[in-house]
Symmetry: C2
Subunit: 404 residues, 2 copies
């Protein structure tokens, strides 16, 4: 008789952003006259850059003509895109990543959720706390993190690396030895970064203990500080211990267009088995490539015009980040992030917990943010605001928060 | 220390179509002057229908303007597409499937590969033999089908349901009781179908033993026979035992555009747990929706103009199917399929096995097909040709086969 994967039943509640969407919809239905501003989910609001729009239109035209029509894409992505990534994202940083170490996918969420399939079923996982929920939930569904303790709000077989004001939101090397370490810099949700020298320490640590680092670099376009690495492969030895995941969502506005990629160096092996071969097999079996027209849109991001337009997009959002950070700071809130990242991480007011602050902002200011505790127990007492709104909405949201 | 999912190492060789692509590339490089015709992989060749092209262009324009720009899509797909599917694919067949039982994804390959995540880790799986490799490989990666016996060319914990000329390529109810049964009609690779009355027997069987049917209906648009069901939900009781997977690839030419959907009725439960909730959670955690512009393209398939154009596409390919079937039959080959399906399943000549015939067609006729044995041990001695070529190439391929 059929039965289900009981790991699903161990997951606490809903995926964080589905819960928020539910609460927001409920409020909207009860208060149809209120106009909500969302600085919650990390979703962009600016239209796609003109270079991307133009590439999309031409690619659509190619699909209309038998002589240029494209069927199934090559496994791992079209050469034109993988070569552009190699040449424009990595070579300029002095990093040699060849096109066949790059796997084009439909976004960093899918790749960061699916990458755990290549790990041993009993791999011991370490995550920062707070953390992007996908790393934890995908491992929970695979049965790797044990049981969820409702009181501690923790999985009992998962290594948590707390990131709080005490350590400037930078994780410390864990006491227990992990097999796999998820790192994300610039960080979601805290907006923090670490200097390249500290990232090098993580790489050295992973190489020493034989751990694998899953490095989520979805926000690298937001880095302006000189001493912060854009890629983990800028660190010496990273090719023998790290997988890097990137996205077109936050630099080029592809949240609803879906494109990303994962880099697995050929040097990354376990007992002679190349991890890139396992991922190639995983993708070859369960994925059929990103759409051709979307891959052409991705290629356009790397044109001179595309690069210029993407920089303008990033600057637009970073202007919001600056405004949120400075305004909240001026109002007496304790804020961090927002320098090399589009997220502002604020302390909730004394005596108000994360969901309490969420409810207060929603109902009294009609502003939607994300409760820090949704990202893990050490996120309690914090709140995330994103810089992805329009200037107008961001300003208006801050005015509303001022009036609280 | 990090180690890998060893189930990957148990997979025999490469994904079938990657192996074929490798062989073809090797031949091409050694014989750059030869012009190959592929009737191998089930990839379409006609351009996207005009209604779809026009919807794509308008959706791209929407993404260029802040007031109509779309970020993250709703989990499970946009309402406009789910409603169109419900109204146009199901209601006309007398089947009541509501939009929230429909999950839009990036194609039937992903969904049919990922659906096993909601099964118990030790679910006993039954597949037809020959079979679309994704059902087997995705369960193998999850460790559900045991070890691969290189001599028998079989997994030792998988129920095989042979489909050969002896049973008109229709599987019989298995001797061992499965927990999950994968069925695909019209069938890939054999092109066979079963009458609705026989499909009803499978539904009754599944309900009796408490099994789940994963029903792959990717080729339903090719059905012309009156007594063949387009959806398993046309059978009584299917909502308590079946999940249906569909695709836009083969009707509307979306192989390189990527869109499909999975239907999980609310009635489908295990101990009070709705399977649709598990899949919603799976997709909510590890998938971020199909691109907005692609979903708009999917919607256009359901417009009156889109429906007309899709019917023309299907007729175009079915004309190839007729030609292949009749020509090969006239040449004395034993052929089946090609009536309600775009696949022709032929017996290889006496004394020539599937890969032998593949090599012979490749090197002597410069025609690429798919060896039946690649789909499972009962496929040995068979060969698959697809109707997805152009008329011209299909005719030319048949001429070349005649000259063998």
């Amino acid at each position: 008789m059929f039965s289900v994967n009981i790991n699903f039943l161990r997951l606490p509640g809903n995926y964080l952003f589905s819960t928020i969407a539910g609460k927001v919809n409920e409020y909207k239905q009860a208060n149809p006259d209120k106009s909500l501003i969302s600085l919650g989910i990390g979703d962009v609001t600016r239209p796609l850059p003109p270079a991307v729009i133009s590439a999309l239109h031409s690619a659509v035209d190619e699909m209309a003509d038998a002589s240029t029509f494209k069927g199934y894409a090559p496994d791992g992505g079209y050469a034109f895109l993988r070569e552009a990534i190699s040449k424009k994202d990595y070579a300029p940083k002095g990093v040699d990543i060849s096109p066949d170490e790059i796997f084009v996918g439909d976004g960093a969420k899918s790749d960061s959720g699916n990458i755990q399939e290549i790990f041993s079923p009993n791999a011991k996982i370490a995550v920062t706390d707070p953390v992007y929920p996908v790393y934890v939930d995908s491992n929970a569904i695979a049965g790797r993190v044990g049981f969820f303790d409702e009181i501690e709000e923790k999985w009992d077989n998962l290594i948590y690396m707390p990131c709080t004001a005490d350590n400037c939101f930078a994780p410390q090397l864990p006491g227990d030895k992990p097999d796999v370490i998820y790192l994300c810099f610039p960080n979601n949700p805290t907006g923090s970064t670490i200097p390249k020298s500290e990232l090098q320490e993580w790489v050295d640590y992973a190489n020493t203990i034989g751990a694998l680092i899953i490095y989520d670099a979805a926000y690298e376009a937001y880095i302006s500080s000189e001493n912060v690495a854009h890629s983990i492969f800028e660190c010496e030895g990273a090719k023998t211990c790290a997988i890097e995941i990137r996205s077109f969502s936050k630099n080029a506005g592809f949240t609803g267009t879906r494109l990303g990629f994962t880099v697995i160096p050929k040097e990354l092996e376990y007992n002679g088995v190349k991890l890139r071969d396992l991922w190639a097999r995983r993708q070859g079996t369960k994925f059929n490539g990103a759409p051709y027209i979307i891959q052409k849109a991705g290629e356009a991001v790397y044109s001179d015009q595309g690069q210029k337009e993407v920089r303008e997009l990033v600057e637009y959002y970073m202007e919001n980040a600056r405004l949120i950070r400075e305004t909240l700071d001026g109002m007496g809130y304790t804020v961090s992030g927002g320098i090399d990242a589009p997220y502002i991480w604020m302390k909730t007011p004394e005596g108000v917990d994360s969901w309490g602050f969420f409810d207060r902002l929603l109902t009294e200011a009609n502003v939607v943010g994300t409760p820090g505790s949704g990202f893990g127990p050490s996120g309690e007492g914090y709140f995330r605001l994103t810089a992805f709104g329009t200037h107008e909405n961001t300003k208006e949201a801050l005015e509303r928060i001022k009036r609280l």
